[in-house]
């Protein structure tokens, strides 16, 4: 059985608003990315996380700037939630020299240590073993830093997941393993690729707490992430969080998503976390509709500024091929 959490921390009003801010920032950024690709202004493989905004947003409000994340190709939402500045992010998506990685990583391999985005990997399952190394370093440094490893449900079927959870548990590492279970691994439906009904059950095999949470409910994600982070900071070791959600778009931009039924998609969109959470904030008196609209407008301006900034940046020069292979430049 997936465990249940006893004492549930609740986000205060300010935190609730901060979660919302991050969700809108993700959604606006995602929408803009798809629009720019559709208009032919950028050419890049893009894995939309539309529908999954709540997960990294409710987790990131609990993370400090120096807490780290290791994420995946479908992880731009995780970075935006961690407050990565959008200008270098967009410049990287556009392959420009002012990008976070000088245009050499692209949308599947963004790195931005200042905001704690340490590794973004295109290899399914690889975020977890590396996150462990950051956890080990934090233990040696004697800091209370935590590392979040984000991955998908499909990734929990890869050997690296099992090796990483086992090692993290044996070494009591301050790592939070966050599975964003969107129901599909590329085109494969969850139950056709995964042997258990709940991924959180796999935590039992590794001697760590495992929770399945409603990935569309910021309050639920927050409570469980809070417990996991506290536990990690207290030196008690890792936690596996399975956040159940749904991705509204195809696997990669342009994929026809024929493997989803119309009904399930409609039902998922009806549970779109954004409007629901917005309404909740208004109903609870956390913010007014006008305040939330103003926030959205501000974020839209930030996104547009980032796009125009990126488009105006230079492409990297060809000498970049010889740089950063090693610390020293490779002779021509």
């Amino acid at each position: 059985m997936s465990q249940t959490l006893e004492n549930r921390a609740k986000p205060d009003a300010k935190t609730q608003l901060d979660i919302y801010r991050r969700m809108i920032r993700i959604e606006r950024n995602d929408d803009a990315t798809r629009t720019q690709i559709r208009r032919g202004r950028i050419t890049a493989p893009y894995y939309s996380a539309r529908g999954q905004e709540c997960i990294p947003s409710a987790i990131s409000v609990l993370l400090n700037d120096d807490d780290k994340i290791c994420t995946i190709y479908r992880g731009i939402h995780d970075m935006v939630a961690k407050d990565m500045p959008l200008r270098p992010l967009w410049a990287e998506i556009c392959g420009r020299v002012d990008g976070t990685c000088k245009g050499k990583g692209g949308p599947m391999h963004l790195t931005h240590p200042e905001t704690g985005v340490m590794v973004t990997t295109g290899i399914v399952g690889s975020s977890m073993p590396i996150a462990n190394g950051f956890g080990w370093a934090a233990l040696l440094d004697g800091t209370k830093q935590v590392t979040v490893a984000y991955f998908g449900d499909g990734a929990s079927n890869i050997g690296a997941f099992h090796e990483a959870l086992n090692l993290a548990s044996v070494w009591k590492l301050p790592v939070i393993f966050v599975c964003q279970n969107n129901g599909f691994a590329e085109h494969t439906r969850y139950e056709n690729g995964t042997s258990v009904d709940l991924i959180s059950k796999r935590a039992i095999g590794y001697g760590m707490p495992g929770y399945t949470v409603d990935g569309n409910d910021p309050v639920d994600v927050y409570a469980h992430a809070h417990a996991a982070i506290e536990r990690a900071r207290a030196g008690e070791g890792p936690t596996l969080l399975e956040c159940k959600t749904f991705r509204f778009m195809g696997h990669v931009f342009g994929d026809a998503d024929g493997y989803m039924t119309k009904e399930e998609k409609a039902e998922a969109i009806a549970r779109d976390p954004l409007p629901i959470y917005r309404q909740k904030l208004i109903d609870d008196g956390v913010a007014t509709a006008e305040e939330l609209d103003a926030l959205t407008a501000k974020i839209e301006a930030e996104v547009n500024d980032a796009i125009e900034f990126a488009m105006a940046c230079e492409y990297p020069s060809d000498d970049e091929l010889r740089r950063d292979v090693f610390a020293e430049e490779i002779p021509a």
Partner: protein, 340 residues
């Protein structure tokens, strides 16, 4: 090694084998730099200090937080090393045998080797991967392969295969402080044959070959435990009146083109000998580079000796046939010399 041809070094030396030399290098590096870590299967003293004892004593001295035995999880080992390296440490990760690097190939090739480049220089992965291999012990197909060509073909990781204990010590000291990932292969006999090591053996730069013996008729380039075989052939060729220049490459990637090209230009003939398969092996790269650069100056085509296109066999008789033997080197050298 022929002592007549080489000046005895004026430095004080001690006899030790490769295993002791690596242990000494790790001790020294860990003492000097608290950021140096060691991890791998069975490496702490509670677990025996490593399968052949290379890491013996380290965990007792530095504690099990810095010297960590791991589960049998090659991806987890290399992953943890990568993260720790990016987190400011200098981990030395042991993959018990080179054949088991295959299990961690994603971590090594897609991550350790590429993170600096893909991050535009923001990420550093200063880690060492230690691994052991080598035919000659009847361990057969899955415990004795040389896969250096795979790693040499991957941009971003350095590949070192020492021969002498002194080189082990010096190259380890450099590799641990190198800002990039380095894989060091401990090849069979190189761990167990005692040789002289300068008492204060310091770092030896990566990427620099060692001219073991000077000569004028032919250059023979090799590395790792195959150097023992090459040195036997060297003795025979010398007796037969052939003047051989022997180069121990030490670092396979990036390899010391300058030294090899200068030597090949001088002697006009080059023979590359390695234990890895001849097909697509490191010798192919060296031969092609030398021929591209010295076309017209060579007296014979570049020769290559390596393992045949098969797995390492079990039966002693077959294993001997699999490994390049001194008479083959002698014959190939003489064939190349006879061509002009």
């Amino acid at each position: 090694m022929s002592t007549e041809t080489l000046e005895a070094p004026a430095v004080e030396t001690v006899k030790m084998n490769g295993l002791q030399a690596i242990n000494a290098a790790l001790m020294e590096a860990m003492e000097a730099d608290p950021k140096v870590l060691v991890l791998g299967e069975d490496i702490a003293d509670n677990e025996g200090g490593g399968v052949v004892g290379v890491t013996r004593g380290l965990s007792t001295k530095f504690g099990t937080m810095r010297v960590r035995s791991t589960p049998i999880s090659e991806q987890a080992i290399i992953g943890a090393a990568i993260g720790a390296a990016m987190g400011g440490y200098k981990p030395v990760a042991e993959i018990m045998l080179m054949n088991f690097t295959t299990v961690a190939m994603d971590m090594i090739v897609n991550h350790a080797a590429k993170l600096r480049f893909m991050s535009g220089g923001q990420s550093q992965v200063p880690m060492v991967i230690r691994t052991l291999t080598g035919a000659g012990n009847q361990t057969a197909g899955q415990h004795a392969d040389f896969y250096e060509a795979w790693f040499c073909h991957t941009a971003g990781i350095k590949v070192v295969i020492p021969w002498t204990p002194a080189d082990f010590k010096g190259l380890y000291l450099s590799a641990i402080q190198d800002p990039d990932p380095v894989i060091i292969v401990e090849s069979g006999k190189t761990l167990f044959v005692p040789m002289d090591v300068p008492v204060n053996q310091g770092p030896i730069p990566l990427g620099k070959a060692n001219v073991v013996a000077p000569g004028s008729d032919i250059t023979i380039v090799s590395y790792g435990q195959m150097m023992f075989t090459v040195m036997q052939a060297y003795e025979e060729l010398t007796k037969a009146g052939v003047s051989v220049e022997v180069i121990d490459l030490r670092t396979i990637s990036p390899w010391d083109k300058e030294t090899v090209l200068a030597s090949a230009e001088k002697t006009g003939r080059l023979l590359v000998v390695h234990e890895a398969g001849r097909n697509f092996g490191p010798g192919a790269e060296i031969a092609a580079t030398v021929q591209e650069t010295l076309f017209g100056k060579l007296k014979a085509p570049v020769g290559r000796l390596g393992a045949p296109y098969c797995s390492v066999p079990f039966a002693k008789k077959l294993e001997d046939a699999f490994l390049v033997q001194p008479p083959e080197i002698v014959a190939e050298a003489q064939r190349l010399i006879a061509m002009s």
